[in-house]
Symmetry: C2
Subunit: 156 residues, 2 copies
DNA sequence: GGTGAAAGCTCTTCACA
DNA sequence: TGTGAAGAGCTTTCACC
């Protein structure tokens, strides 16, 4: 259940900032920073989770250590109609696919993939993408260096 | 200190999978799943952190709840020379910028930004990007719908 | 919504294997 | 590297405000 039409107050925002920065921060640490009781913080965190504002918690891993050093963006034109996500869902189901966006303009989809190397990228294209129906064309852009990569939202 | 030239064994990989999936999982829960003592798990997690394989832990927040509903990719051509990250670092310093990649091909940089709306995007372009030196051209692509958005690495 | 006390777990250290 | 025991510290509940 996601309620996004709800206003967050400053305490909620402070909690979100702290947890976005370090998801393993303890309740007690938050409560000390915010000068509240740990039980009050726990209550707010639970509500933020229930409301879908906190979607989950994840560890940020080094791609190189996991042999996933190649990042690429693939622009895909598809014959999917408006509001039809058939091929998008097929892309999303591939573990190496980190993002799938429906974009404005000529290309229909922008897909971000992370794999071991160029060979793995070619195999992914041949074995997975080429089998997805409705694809009209694909254009791949390889990332040479990543300067910043975060999902952090600036909380204002 | 980042040592990426080190081999991870199956226990390390299992820990990384669990923590990537839920960064707030307790040591005890990991130790039960892996049938180890909590102290042994703690030791491994610490080493994964020290080695830079675990870079940190973050909460995954709903952009809509934080009034950051517009996602855009900006392709930027810059006059930066090879190995010169001057403008890339300037992009990375902007809080609304989530990613900065140096890409192969015509465009030099691919920048991912998350803002409130089109007006905020225009302001960001006018007030922040336009003041960064070396920029030759900018092309903005707006995301209409995000089908998948994760940083999860498939651990094999 | 928030507080504070209490019980139950979890974390963390350390001696030992 | 891993285990198990022990103390410290954290989480969670609950009565009360």
């Amino acid at each position: 259940m996601v309620q996004t039409d709800t206003v967050l107050n400053d305490v909620d925002k402070a909690i979100l900032r702290l947890m976005q920065d370090d998801a393993r921060i303890t309740n007690v640490a938050i409560s000390k920073k915010l000068k509240m009781a740990p039980s009050a913080v726990l209550e707010r965190v639970r509500k933020l989770e229930e409301r879908g504002i906190i979607r989950g918690y994840t560890a940020n891993l080094d791609p190189a250590a996991l042999n996933k050093e190649l990042l690429a963006f693939i622009f895909i034109k598809s014959a999917d109609g408006f509001g039809c996500d058939t091929s998008a869902k097929a892309f999303a189901a591939i573990p190496e696919v980190q993002e799938v966006h429906n974009i404005a303009g000529d290309d229909c989809y922008l897909v971000k993939v992370r794999v071991a190397n160029t060979q793995a990228l070619m195999e992914l294209r041949r074995k997975r993408f080429s089998k997805i129906a409705n694809i009209l064309s694909m254009r791949t852009t390889i990332v040479m260096e990543t300067v910043k990569e975060t999902q952090t939202i600036s909380i204002t």
